[in-house]
C-alpha cells in the first residue's frame, strides 16, 4: 500500500488521509525516506537522515491517530535545518568544526514538533553556520536548485527549501537571520516565513546573530505554514527573548480574503538592481491584490532601508564573532591537538575548522568591535537600526502590510558570485531590512522569470503573522503558482 502514497499533496491532506486510514504514518515515513534517497544524489538536500527516529515517531503517531488524539502535524514528515540541535543526533551546522558533535538536548522547536507528533525524517544542508545566500558555503557540498540543477537554491536554509520544493517533505524548518528562509523560498518556489523577532524560541539553535535570527517554517501553502508556525511559536523560559503574546490560530482569518487589506508598496524596493522579470511578476501580483479589493498605496517610503546592508554586515558578524568564540576544539567537534600551546591549538583548530565565509565574518566582526572602531561601526549600525525600525513602524501605521519583491533576481548559477562576497550579500537587499526591524515577513511564489520561480514578500506588523498568512491564503486561492512543481526523480 505504501507504494500508492501520493507524496505530492500538502500536509493537511496527508493529515486527513492518515485519519481516514488510507495509509499509516509509518508507511508515509517509509515512502518519504525512499524518495529522499532517490533525490539525494541529484540534489544533496540532506546532511543526515534520521530514519530510526522517524519510524519511532511514526509508530507513536499511528497510535495517537487511532486513539483519535491527532493534531494537524501528527504523523506528518518534516525536515529540519541542521542548525537545530537534536539530542543524540549529529548536528553539524554545515561545518567541519562540528564534525562528530551530538547535542545533549533537543532545541525547543524540535521538542514542540515531537509533542505535536510530527515525524522528523532528516537534517537539511545549509551554508556553514547559516552564513551565506547560496548554500555554496557548506562543508557538505552545494545543494542544487530543483528547477535548474546548475543553479543555487539560495541560502542559508537551502536544504530546507529544496526539501519542500522537491516534494520529499510537505514541511520543513529553517532559520532566517537576514533572509535565510525567505530568499531560498523565493528561489525554489515555496512559501517561507520569518516570524517576528521573539515569536519563536531560539533555544538550542546553533547561534549566529542572536538579535536578528528566528526559526521559520517552509511549506507549499498558507494552511500548512500556519499550522507549523502555530506549533513552534510561543514563550519559552529557556529563551528570555521570547515574547509572552498569546499564539493565535493562524488560520482563523483565512476566509477574509484580500478585500480591504491596506497594502503599502515601498518605492525603495523597486529601484535599480531589480530584474525586469521579477518586477513584472510582482506587479502582476499587485494587480491581483488590487482586483480583489486590496487598497494599494505606492506613496510609502522607507528611505533608510537600503542602509540595511551595511548595518546587517556590521551587526551580524559582530554578534557572530562573539557567538562563535565558543568553538575552541576543547569540548567537542573538530580539534587540532598537535600544537605547541593552548593558544596555538585553538587558532589552528579555528583556522582549519571554519570555512572561508565564516572566517571572513568573524574577522569583520572582530574588527568592528575592537577598540577604536566600536563607535564608528557597531554603535553607528545600532543607531541606524533604530531609524530603520522607526521607518517600518511609520510605514505600517496606516497599512496592514507592505509588499515587495523577495529578491532582486531569480536563482543564479552555482559559482557565479562565490568570489565576490559583496555581490552575494546584495541578494539579501530586500530581506535584510525586515530582520533589522524585527517584523515578520513571508515569501510567496508569484510567477516565473526565465523558467525560474519569483518570490513576493509581504511584511507585517510585529506579532501579526495572522495577516501575512491570511493574505497568502487569499492570494493562493486565486493563483496556482504554488502548485507548480519541478520534474525530479520520484
Amino acid at each position: 500500500m505504501a507504494d500508492a502514497i501520493n507524496l505530492d499533496v500538502p500536509a493537511h491532506q496527508h493529515a486527513t488521509r492518515l485519519r481516514a486510514g488510507d495509509y499509516t504514518s509509518r508507511q508515509l515515513a517509509q515512502a518519504t525516506l525512499t524518495r529522499i534517497r532517490a533525490q539525494q544524489p541529484v540534489l544533496n538536500t540532506y546532511i543526515t537522515l534520521t530514519e530510526e527516529l522517524a519510524l519511532t515517531q511514526a509508530d507513536a503517531a499511528d497510535q495517537r491517530i487511532s486513539a483519535g488524539n491527532a493534531g494537524p502535524l501528527t504523523g506528518i514528515p518534516i525536515a529540519v535545518k541542521d542548525l537545530l540541535s537534536t539530542r543524540g543526533i549529529s548536528t553539524t551546522a554545515g561545518s567541519k568544526m562540528l564534525q562528530g558533535y551530538k547535542p545533549l538536548y533537543d532545541c525547543t522547536v524540535v521538542e514542540r514538533l515531537q509533542q505535536a507528533g510530527a515525524v522528523i525524517v532528516g537534517k537539511t544542508n545549509l551554508d556553514e553556520f547559516a552564513m551565506g545566500s547560496s548554500n555554496e558555503h557548506s562543508a557538505y557540498g552545494v545543494v542544487k536548485n530543483p528547477w535548474d540543477l546548475e543553479r543555487v537554491p539560495g541560502g542559508s536554509s537551502g536544504g530546507s527549501a529544496v526539501a519542500v520544493a522537491g516534494h520529499s517533505v510537505p514541511l520543513s524548518l529553517g532559520t532566517d537571520t537576514g533572509g535565510s528562509v525567505r530568499q531560498p523560498a523565493a528561489l525554489c518556489g515555496v512559501v517561507g516565513l520569518k516570524p517576528t523577532y521573539g515569536r519563536v524560541s531560539r533555544y538550542g539553535v546553533v547561534a549566529f546573530a542572536s538579535s536578528l535570527e528566528q526559526v521559520g517554517p517552509f511549506g507549499r501553502n498558507a494552511t500548512d505554514v500556519a499550522n507549523l508556525l502555530g506549533t513552534i511559536a510561543g514563550d519559552d523560559h529557556h529563551d528570555s527573548t521570547t515574547a509572552s503574546e498569546p499564539v493565535p490560530d493562524y488560520t482563523a482569518d483565512f476566509d477574509h480574503g484580500l478585500a480591504g487589506l491596506r497594502v503599502g508598496v515601498p518605492a525603495q524596493f523597486f529601484e535599480d538592481g531589480l530584474d525586469d522579470g521579477v518586477r513584472s511578476a510582482v506587479e502582476e501580483a499587485i494587480a491581483v491584490f488590487e482586483r480583489e479589493g486590496a487598497i494599494i498605496d505606492r506613496s510609502v517610503e522607507l528611505p533608510t532601508a537600503p542602509a540595511s546592508l551595511p548595518v546587517y554586515y556590521i551587526i551580524a558578524p559582530s554578534e557572530a564573532s562573539a557567538n562563535l568564540a565558543r568553538y575552541d576544539g576543547v569540548k567537542y567537534g573538530f580539534s587540532v591537538t598537535d600544537g605547541e600551546s593552548v593558544e596555538q591549538e585553538m587558532s589552528l583548530t579555528r583556522g582549519q575548522g571554519f570555512g572561508p565565509e565564516v572566517k571572513r565574518r568573524i574577522m569583520i566582526g572582530t574588527y568592528a568591535l575592537s577598540t577604536g572602531y566600536y563607535d564608528a561601526y557597531y554603535l553607528k549600525a545600532q543607531k541606524v537600526r533604530t531609524l530603520i525600525r522607526r521607518e517600518f513602524e511609520a510605514a505600517l501605521t496606516d497599512h496592514d502590510l507592505l509588499l515587495t519583491p523577495t529578491t532582486p533576481s531569480v536563482a543564479f548559477r552555482i559559482g557565479e558570485k562565490i568570489d565576490d562576497p559583496y555581490a552575494m550579500y546584495l541578494n539579501d537587499l530586500y530581506t535584510l531590512p525586515v530582520n533589522i526591524a524585527g517584523n515578520p515577513g513571508i515569501s510567496i511564489p508569484c510567477g516565473f522569470d526565465q523558467g525560474l520561480p519569483v518570490g513576493l514578500q509581504l511584511i507585517g506588523h510585529p506579532f501579526d503573522e495572522s495577516t501575512l498568512l491570511r493574505a497568502t491564503h487569499g492570494y493562493q486561492s486565486l493563483t496556482d503558482w504554488n502548485q507548480q512543481a519541478p520534474s525530479l526523480p520520484a
Partner: protein, 95 residues
C-alpha cells in the same frame, strides 16, 4: 578603508584564527572592499538617536531561581577530543 596585512594579522590574532599567508592577502583585499561599503553609514545623521540592541525592547526577563536538572558529567565529556580524570584536557597554560 584599506587594511594592511599587519592589520589583518592583528585581527586574526584577536579572533584566534590561524591564517596562511595566502589567506592573509586575500582577507586583506576582501575586508578592505567590504569596509568601503560601510562608508555610507557615516552620511546618515544619527544625532540623538539611541542604539537598538533588540527589536522590541524586552529588558531584564527573569525566572524564579530554582535548582533544575544538570548535564551528566560523563555525557558532557563524551565529545571531548582529550579528557582526563573527569575533566577536559588542554595543554599547560602556565610553564
Amino acid at each position: 578603508m584599506a587594511l594592511s596585512t599587519d592589520d589583518v594579522r592583528d585581527i586574526a590574532l584577536l579572533a584566534r584564527i590561524a591564517l596562511s599567508d595566502d589567506e592573509m592577502e586575500l582577507m586583506r583585499d576582501e575586508l578592505s572592499s567590504i569596509l568601503d561599503h560601510f562608508e555610507i553609514l557615516s552620511e546618515i545623521d544619527t544625532e540623538d538617536v539611541p542604539p537598538t540592541a533588540q527589536s522590541f525592547n524586552l529588558t531584564n526577563v527573569e525566572r524564579p531561581d530554582v535548582p533544575g536538572e544538570t548535564i551528566d558529567r560523563e555525557a558532557a565529556l563524551d565529545g571531548a577530543p582529550r579528557r582526563q580524570d573527569g575533566y577536559f584536557r588542554v595543554r599547560a597554560v602556565l610553564d
